[in-house]
C-alpha cells in the first residue's frame, strides 16, 4: 500500500464537525466533473490510490477512469462497501427483507426461485457474496488491490460476535477478487482480537488514529499499545480528528508508530492536498 491514500468523504458531504460545511461540500461537488478535477489534482501531486465508498456516484467516476486509461495508468481504487446510509434509510422505510429485495440484483428471486426467501435464509453467506458482487460491479476493469468493509458493518458484526463472517469475507475477497480484504472500524483493538480468533492474520485495518483519541473506542492507550505490539497493517484515518488538530502536529503524532503503513485523508484543494501529502511523507517512517 502507498503511504498516502486519498479519501472521498469531502465529495459526499461527510463532515464530522459541521452539517453546514457538509452542505457546502455537497453544493461544490454537485457535478461529477468537480470530483474528477480534484481527483486529477491529487494524482498530479503523486497520489495513486483512491479509497471510496460504493456510493452511486462513484460508478460515474469509475466510468470516467475506464474511458481514459492513459490518464489513470497505475491508478488504484480501494472500494469500501457498502455505502451504509443507503441501506440504513432503506431499512427504516422498508424493513430488512424489503431492503434485500430492493438492493439485491434483479434476478435474485429468479436465482433462488426454488425456495425463495426460505432458501436465502439458509444460505446467508451466499447472500453476502451476492451483495459484495453487486457492490463491486462498478469497479470491473479497475485495479482494486484492497477491498474494505465499512465500519458500520464491521462493527455490527464485531459487536454481535459473528466473527466467522469475517473469515468468510476474507476468504471470498481473496478467492473471487484476488485482493486483500480490509476492515474499517471504530474499534480497532477489539476487531484485531476478533480477527485473530478466527485465524485472519496480519489484516489491513483502517481506523481512527489521532493525538486526541477522537473516535478511538476504548481509549488512546490501548490503540497505542496495539500499534506498538500487535501484528497488523494499520491505515490511519481521522488523523486530524475531524479538524480539531493542525495537520503538522497530527501527522507528527503518527510518526512514532512505524507500523502505520498508510494515511487516509481527503481534501478539496490542491495546495491542501499537497501540504498534507508532504507532511505524511516526511513524518511517516
Amino acid at each position: 500500500m502507498e503511504k498516502v491514500i486519498f479519501g472521498d468523504n469531502q465529495f459526499f458531504a461527510v463532515n464530522h464537525l459541521s452539517d453546514e460545511k457538509s452542505r457546502a461540500q455537497s453544493i461544490r461537488f454537485k457535478d461529477d466533473e468537480a470530483i474528477i478535477r480534484v481527483l486529477d489534482q491529487s494524482i498530479e501531486t503523486g497520489i495513486n490510490t483512491f479509497m471510496c465508498t460504493t456510493h452511486d456516484r462513484i460508478a460515474n467516476i469509475c466510468k470516467h477512469i475506464l474511458a481514459n486509461p492513459e490518464s489513470y495508468k497505475n491508478y488504484k481504487i480501494y472500494p469500501c462497501m457498502p455505502y451504509a446510509h443507503k441501506y440504513a434509510n432503506a431499512v427504516t422505510e422498508l424493513g430488512i427483507l424489503g431492503t434485500i429485495k430492493q438492493y439485491v440484483p434483479g434476478n435474485i428471486f429468479g436465482t433462488f426461485a426454488k425456495g425463495g426467501m426460505a432458501y436465502l435464509s439458509k444460505d446467508f453467506l451466499k447472500l453476502m457474496q451476492i451483495l459484495i458482487d453487486a457492490e463491486m460491479k462498478m469497479f470491473k476493469g479497475i485495479d482494486t488491490p484492497v477491498i474494505f468493509i465499512q465500519n458500520v458493518i464491521t462493527d455490527m458484526v464485531l459487536g454481535l460476535k459473528m466473527y466467522e463472517v469475517f473469515a468468510e469475507y476474507d476468504a471470498y475477497i481473496r478467492k473471487k477478487y484476488n485482493a486483500e480484504p480490509g476492515y474499517i472500524t471504530m474499534n480497532m483493538p477489539a476487531l484485531l482480537d476478533a480477527l485473530e480468533s478466527v485465524g485472519v492474520k496480519n489484516p489491513v485495518i483502517c481506523s481512527s488514529i489521532n493525538k486526541i483519541g477522537f473516535r478511538m473506542s476504548g481509549g488512546k492507550e490501548i490503540y497505542e499499545k496495539y500499534l506498538r505490539e500487535k501484528q497488523f497493517r494499520p491505515i490511519a484515518m481521522q488523523v486530524l480528528a475531524a479538524g480539531a488538530l493542525r495537520p503538522k502536529e497530527a501527522v507528527e503524532y503518527l510518526g512514532q508508530f512505524p507500523k502505520i503503513e498508510s494515511v487516509l485523508f481527503g481534501a478539496s484543494s490542491k495546495p491542501h492536498i499537497q501540504e498534507t501529502k508532504e507532511l505524511i511523507e516526511k513524518y511517516l517512517k
Partner: protein, 337 residues
Amino acid sequence: MIKGSVIGLGKMGLSHAAIVGAHPKVDMVSVCDTSSMVLDVFNKFTKVKTYSDYVQMIDNENLDFVVVATPTKFHYPIVKYALEKGLHVFCEKPFMLNSQQGNEIVGLAAKKGVVNQVGYHNHFIGTFRELKRLLGENVLGELSHFSGEAYGPVVTKEKGGTWRSNSAEGGGCLYDYASHVINLLQEVVGRPSKVHGTLLKSIYSKGVEDAVYSLLELDSGLTGTLLVNWSDETYRKMSTSITVQGKKGKIICDATEIKIYLKEAAPAQKLDKGWTIKYITDFAIPVDFYLRGEEYSAQIDYFVDCIGENKNARYNTFEQACYTDSVIEMIVNNNKI
C-alpha cells in the same frame, strides 16, 4: 455479569444487540424476533440463544434486563410483561401508541422499582448536553423563542407498505423523527403544554405525514416552533438541531457543533462577545465500543450502569417518553381543529 436480551431485531434492534453484545459488563444470553431468517443468522454465527416468542424467552431465561426494539405497537404488551417479571427495561422510541398505555407502564415501572429508559439517543450527544448546561447558567437571559428541527431523507419516493406507513401503528414522521425533537426539547428547553397551528403534511407517503410543523407553548409561556421533515433529501442522514433565542443572545446546536452568539461576553463561561463555535470533539462522551455514534453506546452504558449501581435513571425515563407521547397526541388533536 448482568444478563440481558434484545427483543426485535430490525435496524435499531441489531444495533442494540451489537452494543449489548460488546458490553464488558453484560452477557447477552438471548435474542428474540419473529423473522426466522434473522434468527438463523444468530444460530449459525453466535452462541446466543434465539426465541421467536418473548413470553417463552422471559420465562425460560434468568434475565436482568430486556431491550425492546420491536415495531411500536408491540411495545406495550412486551414492556408490560417484562416489568411484571421484575426486569429492567430499555425501550426504543417512540414509547407507546398512546399516553394511556404509557401512564400505566410508567406506574408499573415505578411500582417495580426497576431501571427504565427509552432510546432517545440525542440526550447522549455532548453538544446538546452543553446547550442544556448553558441554558441552566442563564447565558441567554430571558428566552424569547426556540426552534426544534429535524430533517432527513427517509421517504423520498411515492411508495409504502410497512408499519411505518400506518399512523395507527406508530409510523409516520411525527412518531419517528418528530418524537426525537419533542423529547429533546423537553430535556433541554422545557415541557410543551400547549400546541398551536399544526400542519401535518403528506409529501410522498399515503396515510401518514412526511412533515410536521407546529407551534409549541411551554408551561413558562415560552413559545417556539417544531419543524420536521423526513422527505428532505438535501440531508444525507437525519439532522437534528435546536435553536434558542434570548435577550442576551442566541445558540444554535446540532449533533456536531454548538454555535453561541452573545451580545456581551460571559467570562464565567469563557464565552466571548459575538460568535463562539465549539465542536463535538470537545463534548463527545467516551465509549468502549462505537457503532454509528457515541450516543448509541453511551445510552446503553448509562442503562447498564444504573442497573449495576442500583440507581434510578435520570435521562430518558419512561415518564419523560410518555410525556413526549402526550405532546404527540396534542399535535394530532391540534391538527384536527
